[in-house]
């Protein structure tokens, strides 16, 4: 293993749900890498396959879903060929995840200390007392006051923001190499959101932890991530450095997403909306999945566009991408 091996390398990942009514290609041909200490944004509207991508990396895709193709390499080791037990050993110790709804992620009938200590003892053979000390320190680290007392509390005794901090501290407790944060701030108010974002960013810089930040809101990751992948209907349609993508989006979908972000509009101007709805992933028609909603669609778009590598590490999956001058 060389020093500049990326923390995570996903290649042509396909995660399909084999339901009674047909195959749902929730993730189809998704590739990206995340380097040590890097923050990768994963953006897309609801149902675009962001969470399923995250669960695939953890090996937690629920039946009837499974990884149907592609490779996931973590620090040079292939995860997809790993026996379940070894994959489980990585979960929560080397790769951890924070979920969207802090009200639902903690078990309501178990005390915080139980839920934190088990996260440690599942991976390390240490005494409860040591694990407890570590849990207390982890709570302190995410800014929870009087952690010793709070350890004895139950989840319902915390506010939503505090619960998300607890979830983060559980994710951090074993000093993982990669954290997948699945819209962790969506359910929180703006101030707390900003605090958590700031702390997450600082953490990655300080410890070299790689971070995948999933969101449907581009503004959230504008100041946070280094690179961004835009997903649509299970595929990555555009990828690149966050600033370049925000300044000169190439894909019509990204273009629409940025248009619908309030802060980038002129004050008082009506919000641009992307017309239409996400297509059903069941029986996707052939060709570009964005076709029905795309202002630039042409006959060419009836066939499936491939993803093109552009300069500066950017990539786009479109026959008629916007060029730089298109966004004024």
């Amino acid at each position: 293993m060389t020093g500049n091996e990326p923390t995570l390398c996903v290649e042509n990942l396909q995660t399909y749900f084999y339901t009674k009514s047909g195959v749902i290609k929730a993730v189809d041909d998704v590739s990206f890498t995340v380097d040590k200490g890097e923050v990768l944004g994963l953006v897309g509207e609801s149902g675009s396959g962001k969470s399923v991508t995250g669960f695939s990396i953890l090996g937690l895709v629920d039946p009837p879903g499974r990884i149907a193709g592609g490779r996931i390499r973590f620090k040079g080791h292939s995860l997809t060929t790993l026996p379940e037990k070894e994959w489980r050993n990585l979960r929560g110790s080397r790769i951890s995840m924070v979920f969207q709804d802090p009200m639902m992620t903690l078990n309501p009938v178990l005390r915080i200390d139980t839920q934190m200590i088990e996260a440690v003892t599942a991976h390390e053979n240490i005494s409860r007392q040591e694990a407890r000390t570590r849990a207390r320190d982890a709570l302190g680290q995410v800014g929870i006051p009087s952690p010793d007392e709070r350890l004895k509390a139950y989840p319902h005794q915390f506010s939503g923001g505090m619960r998300q901090r607890v979830a983060f501290s559980i994710a951090l407790i074993n000093k993982p190499d990669l954290i997948i944060a699945d819209e962790p701030t969506t359910a929180l108010d703006v101030t707390i959101q900003a605090q958590i974002l700031h702390e997450a960013q600082k953490l990655c810089r300080d410890t070299g932890t790689a971070l995948i930040w999933i969101t449907h809101d581009l503004t959230v990751i504008a100041g946070l991530s280094d690179r961004v992948c835009v997903m649509y209907a299970g595929r990555i349609v555009e990828a690149g450095g966050i600033n370049q993508v925000l300044d000169t989006p190439h894909h019509p979908y990204t273009y629409g997403l940025i248009g619908s972000v309030p802060s980038r509009n002129k004050r008082g101007a009506p919000l641009a909306q992307i017309a239409g709805m996400t297509p059903s992933l069941l029986n996707l028609p052939p060709g570009c999945a964005f076709r029905q909603r795309c202002p630039r669609a042409s006959r060419a778009c009836l066939t499936e566009p491939e993803i093109h590598e552009l300069k500066d590490g950017r990539a786009v999956r479109c026959f008629h991408p916007y060029e730089e001058e298109a966004t004024a």
Binding site: R88, R91, G92, M97, F99, D101, T105, V109, L110, E118
Partner: protein, 325 residues
């Protein structure tokens, strides 16, 4: 907690009082014990003496009032038939019923919870479907019929287990119990299983429904994302959540287990209070029937109280102070 207890106690007294009136009037309506108790050949003077001795010549309200005064002094009346204090007779038989009921609930839990969890985890598998089919049978087959079938199969045809009685008993904390002797165990197994069947089916359904619901929760996925083993996820995270409804319902049902024991005790000739009740109703032994019913109501009240406390211990979100008593 204190306020809750006091409130609950006051309510219990009222419930008991109302119950005593209903029971007393009800038993009065069933029939006149004089017809059964008194030798028809006895002369009129003798008959009237007996009626007066039992207090049956007075109007019903006076009889009730006498009864109530006695109860407040701890005297639930004297059995017409046994000529002994009713309470004493019941207390003598109570351990047998309690042992049977606790055994039945224990079996319902030990078999029902794992079976329900398996059925909830693999609802479409053969074993999951089999468990559900079994629970439907347990719900729908009448207890006495299953009891007879159990006797037929295990006692008559296979000869493995005895069909009636308590077997050898030993003293335990001052009462006679069967479950501590091998002979007693073989005697209690069939009736306890028979009595457990209905509750077991109930537990299976609750555990299965709970498991299916809990497994979909984010906190289960989060627990797995922490890298916990399946044993820990199911044995701690799932189990603790499904225990809440199971314990609540089972606790409340413990009273009805005691009530249902009437059937099982009759089928298996188990010498508990259920069998005593049936015999007493047959003899129109008023004091004994009234004492039995009041005892049962008291037991229900105590059980509900204990269940509420257990519930608040299991579910940290519930505090007794907030609960409607």
């Amino acid at each position: 907690m204190l306020a809750f207890t006091v409130r609950r106690l006051l309510q219990s007294v009222i419930v008991l009082f109302v119950m005593s009136i209903i029971v007393f009037l009800g038993i009065y309506a069933i029939g006149n014990p004089v017809d059964i108790l008194i030798n028809p050949e006895a002369d009129i003077a003798e008959q009237e003496a007996t009626i007066r001795r039992l207090g049956l010549d007075k109007p019903v309200w006076t009889q009730y009032f006498t009864f109530l005064t006695n109860v407040l002094q701890g005297d639930l009346g004297t059995s017409f038939v046994h000529n002994e204090p009713a309470l004493l007779i019941i207390l003598e038989r109570l351990p047998a019923t309690m042992e049977l009921a606790v055994g039945a609930v224990g079996l319902a839990i030990i078999i029902g919870i794992p079976a329900g969890i398996i059925a909830g985890l693999y609802p479409d598998s053969i074993i999951g479907r089999g468990i559900m089919a079994g629970s439907i049978l347990g719900f729908s087959l009448p207890t006495f019929w299953v009891g007879l079938m159990l006797i037929m199969l295990f006692s008559v045809m296979l000869g493995w287990l005895p069909a009636s009685g308590r077997g050898d008993t030993v003293g335990f904390l001052g009462v006679q119990v069967s479950f501590l002797t091998w002979d007693g165990l073989t005697h209690i197994f069939l009736p306890a299983f028979n009595l457990a069947l209905f509750k077991m089916s109930l537990v299976i359904r609750l555990a299965r429904a709970g498991t299916r619901e809990v497994m979909l929760q984010d906190y289960i996925k989060f627990a797995r994302a922490k890298g916990l083993s399946n044993v820990r996820v199911i044995g701690v995270h799932v189990l603790k959540n499904i225990l809440i409804p199971v314990v609540t319902v089972l606790g409340l049902e413990l009273g009805s287990v005691i009530a249902f024991a009437v059937v099982t005790e009759t089928v298996f000739a188990w010498p508990g209070i259920g069998k005593l009740l049936i015999d007493s109703i047959g003899n129109l032994d008023r004091p004994l029937v009234v004492a039995y019913l009041l005892m049962t109501v008291t037991m229900f009240i105590i059980i509900n109280f204990v269940v509420d406390i257990l519930y608040s211990l299991l579910d940290p979100r519930v505090r007794l102070g907030d609960m409607k008593a």
